[in-house]
Symmetry: C2
Subunit: 320 residues, 2 copies
DNA sequence: CCCTTGCGGTCAGGTCCTGTCCGCAATCCG
DNA sequence: CGGATTGCGGACAGGACCTGACCGCAAGGG
């Protein structure tokens, strides 16, 4: 085995078990212990902090360093990571959507097909994003495809359903992916319209990279996120939710986590405010809190609460 | 730069962009193009399928191969992966809990401290597992610590709250982690009791590996999962939920995903059954479905539905 | 105090890595 | 069809570097 291959294997071994006695490592790598020590030294020179313990039951150990070492994953771990990232990218986790998608595309690109199949088999086991209530049910695989095409400057072809419901095929030069609220958009140069467009990802179907690369154009204004937002003058339907909850702020905060702002109003009550483009979340939150509350706004939320109250009330009456 | 370091860097470059012209790569690695070709060859010999395209706008590309290549992640990607895995390990994703934890512990072990801090800063942004309603709110960092101790045969010390509410310090030799239902257990040899025990992870606090390694004992019976289950004769409180929903099976299935079994009852209705040890999930599901329904069992669910109906009804009355 | 295990210097031999030079092949474009 | 571009790989010479062997030393654990 060549020296470089041995380095990779050594890194891999150091990642699977915490402690390795030097002799054991040398035997596995089929080199003398002296050479092993030299390999370890080389790793250290490359910045991977390999810690050593002397004496009986001593050994080597890979510690946290200044930079991420190359991760050597086995099949199952890779699958777990992809499944987790899909959940995160799908909007279950706040704050890292786009990074998840980037990581996802990187991993998926080099993932053996048999592992991709295993991931797909697990696809529908994730928690539905808004538990049914009309969440766009994004396909994380689609997101990964788009992100990859953006990164690699590859043309994309996909079907697109316009607001009016028309279905048409588009070919574009993708530029950036943007997430606004809980929605994904692709900013791209439309090759048939000869203009910049932003596409809602949940309206796209069957996206495939054509394999044709292109020289990136400059987006007028430069800021893709701004471009998308400016195109959304047709009111993004965001609701400002404000609810007075009759429970102490601390416990409410514990239950809604970061999904809403909780401010103490002093008298053992608190005010819960959220931004949502879908009333499903506030509804879930109100149910999860389980305390008495008054809806301050919006009126639509009152209607929604009323609807569920009626629904549940009828169910109880029918059962008893 | 040494040859091995260059190989790693080459792998890294190939993972960040899809296509690389040979000249560009050679320049970045500061070697001649001939040497670059040799490096690429070496990678191929190691099993990484590097595809090359000739002619104008040709270049190199890392494809999916038979095995996962070492992943070279930048900081943000690493953080995204850990956050995703935490969500998955916390029970948001069905079917890969334990693998997620393994992957998590592997990554966290080698992750630079500054990245760990970033992950912690994002911790509470994940969706609360059951949106408040008493989900054990597992600490994924704790899970990772335990998994690592199991893997590396390191003794653990932690605080444990018994069913009776007593708090005591334990020192154990961890054996395996088991997940039953939505709960995590650690099977370990208790060094003070001198016997095997299974510990509920959500009752543990401040677990730390002591650094002392031990020779693994053999678990009587061998099957850790079986051991935990046998210890759970004290009825795990599981509810069999069965609800008749007045909506067509297809749409209901779309809304609950894999979180419940949906069987068509023929007359435009369907029966939704779930197993749950917490009634929060079925409640969320019923709200998410938004159709009329009759609760068949358990009686506790009817009470719960009644409670929320009352809660919501009062809120509406107070507002109008 | 002894044993185990890691550390690192030195040396000789030889592997293998590198840059140069070359002709060839595949692909794209006009 | 021809030219330009880009990847492919053989041959070769010089030298960098890798390896194993041998050594004495240092650090833990019992």
């Amino acid at each position: 085995m060549s020296a470089s291959a041995r380095m990779l294997q050594l890194l891999s071994l150091l990642q699977t078990h915490r402690y390795w006695p030097g002799g054991e490592l040398a035997r596995r790598l089929e080199v003398s212990e002296r050479t092993l020590r030299r390999d370890v030294d080389r790793l250290r020179e490359l910045g991977y902090p390999v810690h050593a313990v002397r004496g009986v039951a001593g050994g080597y150990q890979l510690q946290a360093g200044a930079a991420m070492p190359p991760l050597l994953l086995d099949d199952e771990e890779a699958v777990a990571i992809v499944v987790g990232l899909r959940a995160a990218a799908g909007g279950m986790v706040e704050g890292i959507d786009d990074t998840s998608v980037r990581a996802l595309s990187k991993i998926v690109q080099v993932m053996p097909p048999r592992l991709r199949r295993r991931v797909d088999a697990l696809r529908s086991y994730t928690v539905p994003a808004v538990f049914g209530s009309g969440g766009p049910t994004l396909d994380a695989g689609l997101l990964a495809t788009l992100a990859q095409a953006c990164r690699d400057d590859e043309r994309l072809r996909f079907g697109y359903r316009t607001r009016e419901g028309d279905e048409a095929e588009r070919t574009v030069e993708p530029h950036t992916m943007v997430t606004v609220g809980r929605r994904w958009y692709l900013v791209a140069w439309d090759l048939t319209r000869h203009d910049w467009r932003s596409f809602r990802v949940d309206r796209m179907t069957d996206a495939t990279a054509t394999g044709v690369r292109f020289r990136p154009r400059e987006l007028p204004g430069g800021d893709a996120a701004e471009y998308v937002k400016s195109g959304l003058r047709s009111a993004p339907q965001r609701h400002h939710v404000s609810v007075l909850v009759h429970a102490d702020a601390e416990s409410v905060r514990g239950r809604v986590g970061r999904w809403g702002e909780v401010t103490d109003t002093g008298d053992g009550s608190c005010r819960l405010t959220m931004e949502a483009d879908d009333l499903g979340w506030p509804m879930f939150a109100l149910m999860g809190i389980g305390a008495e509350f008054d809806v301050e706004e919006p009126a639509e939320l009152v209607e929604e609460v009323d609807r569920v109250a009626g629904l549940f009330g009828r169910a109880v009456r029918r059962t008893s």
